[in-house]
């Protein structure tokens, strides 16, 4: 059933919002630093780039995934000092993997509404505390009665979705594997990367089977890490830099949690979230008007699935863009130039470092070796999460 999600929303804001600094830590399978220390590292870099100190920060947003990974309840309190969160309004936002873009969206409302002029957004994940494998915490995502008695692994959901996508659109695994090859190679240029490597399609197809069609190299690794962004009002941005990056649109949407009742071949939630962001950013043809994209890529097929949901390709046609090299860093539509989650790593919410932070760096021409070849003015980042039914989108532009 088609539902007009954005009906009735009013996109009125009190002031324009710019991003002026970003930072992130290394993404690794296991880091010795605590979550607090990781937050501190990421925040220090973001403030350094912005030319601000913690005293300039008026409000703080924290994004972090289930407490079960860290083994501490209300971890926003535990993490607050590293995030610069005390003695000022501080709140945690959490929508699973979608947090990587939802936390900056929350930062956006705090500034756009006029509540604050300087907002610090911090995302942290410490997945390695749950050991030997964080998969054991993912068990508790499943429905008590319908799913858990079958002893599922979280990968099942993605394997079922990937098969459905391949079946309906007649897509081959080798076409999907190209995404993993591209992103892991892109990540070689990222100083923070966890699993950057030069691999081939055959390597992906011959890697260890997890839940077929998903194999080891189709999946991003669980990582530890943190990331931070500084968002400011227009009048503050003017004092800080000649080249701020503006947030021009935000959107998010949630599909039903009765996930076995949806046709998994197409991410309707991604389409709805994009529709909201496009309406706000006055985008009518994303393929022409957006120059660089960081869609959420925890699995190689998800990059393709999301590109289709976001309207960059027709249903079933994202693999063609990939095959033709359009999505390479020197292509016409660079996708995941950072190396994405598949290459840099997947510390759930801290994936903000390769999604929102990367788009900011690309649009401010600070991405170094990762900078895309074409001239860029508008970029989109997207994240996905919960029980695979939420999508969060942010559009940025270096032109106001």
């Amino acid at each position: 059933m088609e539902v007009e999600v954005i009906k009735g929303l009013k996109f009125q804001k009190k002031q324009d919002v710019a991003i002026v600094g970003a930072g992130m830590t290394s993404f690794k399978r296991r880091l010795n630093e605590t979550g607090r220390e990781l937050n501190y590292y990421a925040v220090r870099q973001a403030l350094e780039e912005a030319g601000l100190t913690i005293d300039d920060v008026e409000i703080v947003v924290l994004g972090s995934a289930p407490d079960a990974f860290d083994g501490v309840h209300m971890k926003e309190e535990y993490l607050s000092d590293g995030a610069g969160g005390f003695d000022r309004p501080y709140m945690r936002y959490f929508v699973g993997g979608g947090t990587a873009v939802f936390a900056p969206i929350a930062g956006y409302f705090h500034v756009a509404s006029g509540l604050a002029d300087v907002c610090l957004v911090v995302c942290e994940e410490k997945m390695s505390s749950c050991h030997p494998h964080p998969q054991s915490a993912f068990k508790y995502i499943w429905d008590f009665f319908l799913d858990r008695p079958l002893k599922p692994n979280l990968i099942w959901i993605f394997a079922l979705e990937m098969r459905r996508y391949m079946h309906v659109n007649n897509v081959k695994h080798e076409d999907i594997a190209l995404v993993s090859v591209k992103n892991k190679a892109n990540a070689l240029d990222h100083p923070c990367s966890h699993v950057a490597e030069k691999i081939t399609v055959e390597d992906v197809l011959n890697s260890e089977p997890m839940a077929l069609p998903v194999r080891r190299l189709d999946v991003s690794p669980p990582s530890d890490g943190a990331a931070a962004l500084v968002m400011v009002a227009a009048h503050k941005a003017r004092h800080l830099t000649d080249e701020p990056v503006w947030v021009t649109g935000v959107g998010w949407s949630l599909d039903t949690t009765w996930w076995t009742n949806r046709d998994l071949y197409y991410p309707r939630y991604a389409a709805e979230s994009a529709k909201m962001a496009y309406k706000m950013a006055h985008i009518t043809d994303p393929r022409k008007q957006i120059d660089v994209v960081e869609p959420y890529d925890p699995f190689d097929y998800k990059e393709l699935h999301h590109l289709e949901g976001l309207g960059f390709a027709k249903k079933g046609e994202a693999p063609i863009l990939t095959k033709e090299g359009v999505t390479q860093r020197d292509g016409d539509l660079p996708v995941c130039p950072s190396g994405g989650l598949l290459g840099v790593g997947n510390p759930i919410s801290a994936a903000m470092g390769v999604k929102a932070c990367e788009i900011y760096w690309q649009l401010s021409y600070r991405a170094g070796k990762r900078q895309v070849a074409k001239e860029v003015s508008t970029g989109l980042c997207q994240a996905w999460g919960d029980l695979m039914q939420i999508s969060t989108v942010m559009i940025m532009s270096n032109k106001r």
Binding site: Q45, F145, P191, L212, L264
Partner: protein, 176 residues
Amino acid sequence: MAVGKRKIECPLYAEGTAVSEEDIKTRKVTHYEDHPDIRYSWTAGQAISRFLNGLKEGKILGVKCDGCKRIMVPPRMFCELCYKPIDGWVELKDTGTILTYSISYIDPDARPLPKPIVVALIQIDGASQNMAIMHLIGEIEPEKVYVGMRVKAVWKPENEREGSVTDIKYWKPLEG
């Protein structure tokens, strides 16, 4: 101020000290370990209790909504689209069609299974389009499963059923 310079490459530096599982096992890294032992018992609520009790009797129950005309499974007490109470219960068939499937080599803790199992989304006969449940497929070589395959539930003997989705052992190919 330090901004506005195109020469800056970001991120400015990669910070963080990688350690391995081995470093923890051999106590090279200072750490503290605990194994929380918390038990839960979750009540199944109105709709799922009735669904699970139905399984105990060898029946798959769904619900219908006269607003959107859907016949839904798993059952629920309210229609999330029409946002109103459901209009009744219906008994569905114990046959269905595979919408998608996976061959799993790993258990819930990502440990290897002794032999791979097949899991599928099965659209239940008698329910609306895409109304599927997740369940296991058996009595077939994993590589012979396909999307669109017709399957039938294999029930546990009546005296072994306990009101759980595992009262159906698995689904097997429906011949003919």
